[in-house]
């Protein structure tokens, strides 16, 4: 096999792409878990709903693919808001119950979508310029993967700005660090949780819209992404920077392991590696030192 540096560069670029896919899938989960401490088992199904929102917008309204991104965000954010209001908000101080309740929501959503749309896969069309490939000498990347990388960067910058440069962000961080203390200063923590949950769901929707073009739209597609999302969040430890670091690490390792061995063995090695990391850093790479509820 050829071990010159050109294919290694190719693997590096691919690792970046895999990392961006996992990170964009995990963003919503990171925010919800990092802020409210809710382990959202329905996260994969929110991704799936984003894909179906894109499919519906395209099939029934003829919306171009790029416009489906904000539509998916809004639709899934509203669905997330609904579940937060009727269910999750009663369970914030009972983490095990949220686990069970959100898992129930995930089953409901999968089965509901299957009843409405059937279990055959749906097709989302992408514009011509996104179905090609960009070649820079030795490196190749499909335009769609470049779009995913760019969207991930945009979303991260957006979240960073929201959290660290706005008044709303100060309130989110205050509630994250100490809910009671924040409340005593007049921050409406319930409203903050509600907004964060909707935001997290909306981000999952954007991810779903992107994945609808990359892979397949199926009622069960969420389960493909939820495992990687949880690994990113758990390995990262909760905060945004942790998820970024964890996904970058996992994406590159996955890509290089796949290059040297094969995809199946790469997955095995990656999981072993994560177990080892968690053995020595049980709270993740960037564990939140603030008070955990």
């Amino acid at each position: 096999m050829d071990y010159s540096w050109a294919p290694l560069m190719g693997s590096l670029v691919l690792g970046l792409s895999i990392a961006s896919i996992w990170l964009v899938a995990a963003l919503g989960l990171t925010i919800i878990y990092g802020t409210a401490g809710v382990i959202n088992m329905a996260h994969g199904e929110f991704i799936m709903l984003g894909a179906y929102a894109a499919y519906c917008a395209q099939a029934y309204l003829g919306t171009p693919f790029l416009l489906c991104l904000p539509i998916s965000f809004v639709v899934v954010a509203l669905i997330g808001l609904f579940f937060e209001r009727v269910l999750i908000r009663y369970l914030y101080h009972r983490p095990l119950d949220t686990l069970l309740a959100t898992w129930g929501v995930s089953l409901m959503l999968t089965q509901g979508v299957r009843m409405i749309f059937g279990s055959s896969p749906k097709y989302v069309q992408v514009p011509e310029f996104l179905s090609g490939n960009v070649s820079l000498g030795i490196m190749n990347m499909s335009s769609l993967r470049i779009l995913i990388v760019l969207m991930t960067v945009v979303l991260i910058v957006g979240i960073w700005y929201l959290f660290y440069r706005t008044y709303f962000g100060i309130k989110i961080r205050a509630v994250t660090q100490n809910r009671e203390m924040a409340a005593s200063f007049g921050v409406n923590s319930e409203r903050i949780y509600m907004c964060t949950f909707a935001l997290g769901a909306g981000l999952a929707g954007v991810a779903g819209c992107l994945f609808s073009a990359l892979a397949i739209v199926l009622p069960t597609m969420g389960s493909n992404y939820v495992v990687e999302s949880f690994l990113v969040v758990v390995t990262g430890g909760g905060p945004l920077v942790g998820s970024i670091a964890a996904s970058a690490m996992m994406g590159e390792f996955k890509s290089f392991f796949s290059y040297f061995f094969n995809s199946t063995f790469a997955q095995f090695l990656l999981f072993v590696l994560i177990v080892i990391v968690l053995r020595f850093r049980p709270n993740g790479l960037f564990a939140n030192t603030a008070v955990r509820r």
């Binding site: 055959s120 749906k122 190749n140 996955k254």
Partner: protein, 379 residues
């Protein structure tokens, strides 16, 4: 993925049989269960069907994993499974009748055709489970015979939608064509990312064993056009029986899929194999004495004429209860239909142990070992 449409075509076939008078005047009563692609559910539903609902035969399963999940129950209760799709062989159970192609029937025509028309250098890509691996073992033999060269063999986890590293390897290996046994959702992701990575079907076609009309429509026709499929049936087959099947099914209340597919046709045929077999069993034993075992014995050598089977005449092998059929190669066109570019000269015999000559041969009583002794229920 094609399971839902196969369930619909089964109901269509049962309605058709019942309208024509059923089995000796009694209608077939279907019980439909959804195993949700979960192997535990498959096993549990199979127990319910056999023990509670007391069915006389079961039709279904798609992946080899699901078949292997239900067969212990089917065999221990001596029931009968009609398995209507392609599989790898290497089994000799006395409780199964299969109407799809075995691995030895599947790639025998495809590999030489691709080598002849596109070149000798080939890359194998498959999902990581038993059927792709066994199919690739067969394909390697045909490839050697055709003088081809295997550049690489990659397996991705079942259900995975990440083909970046596989495509990078393909880019470096520069094969003349790709032989794919990627299944289900992964197959769709593979074809999409193949085109998105800048490859095209003219320079490097994918020769698949599974990418049919349903899969092509789900991935988007522009991603499927130009690639090849080996199957015993295509919607585009030009014969009166197929025209009747396509028009009848798509015009019926079950025809919402909009296309027909090799898997659906194999399911349709399995209903007629069942009809022929149970009628024969009733003739020989009387209505009240019929058991699944007698139906299976009666299925030996059952012939579906070209007036019944949309793919043309097929018959069930008397020893291993797989089906003699004519493999065909189709190329996906711009409109999503397949153009048949090659049809095998004659029926190909199903050989479940073709690449394991030392394992023995499958007979109606069980696997006949080289030592002469017989092992029953080999899965």
């Amino acid at each position: 993925m094609p399971e839902e449409d196969s369930a619909l075509v089964m109901q269509y076939a049962i309605d058709e049989i019942n309208e024509a008078g059923g089995i000796n005047g009694s209608p077939i009563e279907p019980i439909i269960v959804d195993a949700k692609s979960d192997m535990n559910v498959y096993a549990q539903k199979m127990r319910e069907l056999i023990l509670r609902d007391r069915v006389i035969s079961v039709f279904g399963c798609y992946t080899s994993a699901s078949r292997k999940a239900v067969m212990p129950t089917v065999m221990s209760r001596d029931n009968l499974l009609f398995y209507p799709t392609c599989y790898e062989g290497k089994e000799c159970s006395q409780n199964i009748v299969c109407t799809g192609p075995l691995a030895n029937q599947h790639s025998q025509e495809l590999i030489p055709y691709m080598v002849e028309n596109f070149g000798k250098r080939v890359f194998f890509v498959g999902s990581n489970y038993v059927w792709p691996k066994e199919s690739n073992k067969n394909a390697r033999i045909w490839l050697d015979d055709a003088g081809g060269e295997l550049l690489g063999e990659e397996y991705v986890p079942l259900g995975s939608s990440e083909f970046g590293s596989v495509l990078n390897k393909i880019r470096r290996a520069k094969p003349d064509f790709i032989f794919s046994t990627v299944v289900g959702a992964s197959d769709i992701a593979f074809h999409r990312q193949f085109k998105q990575a800048g490859f095209n079907a003219e320079d490097m076609p994918i020769a698949s064993l599974t990418t049919g009309e349903i899969e092509t429509r789900a991935m988007g026709i522009e991603y499927g056009a130009g690639h090849f499929l080996s199957a015993p049936y295509f919607q585009a087959l030009d014969n009166p029986t197929n025209k009747k099947f396509v028009d009848g099914f798509l015009g019926s209340k079950y025809g919402k899929s909009g296309v027909t597919h090799y898997n659906m046709e194999e399911t349709y045929n399995s209903a007629y194999v069942f009809k022929a077999a149970i009628e024969k069993a009733i003739d020989e034993n009387g209505m009240e004495n019929v058991t699944p075992r007698l139906i299976r014995d009666a299925a030996a050598g059952v012939r579906l004429s070209a007036d019944v089977s949309p793919e043309g005449e097929v018959w069930v092998d008397e020893n291993n209860f797989n089906t003699w059929l004519v493999p065909k190669i189709g190329q996906c066109q711009e409109d999503g239909s397949f153009k048949i570019v090659k049809t095998a000269d004659s029926h190909v015999e199903p050989l479940p142990y073709s690449i394991y000559p030392d394992a023995g041969t499958c007979t109606a009583q069980g696997l006949k070992l080289p030592s002469g002794s017989i092992r029953k229920d080999v899965i």
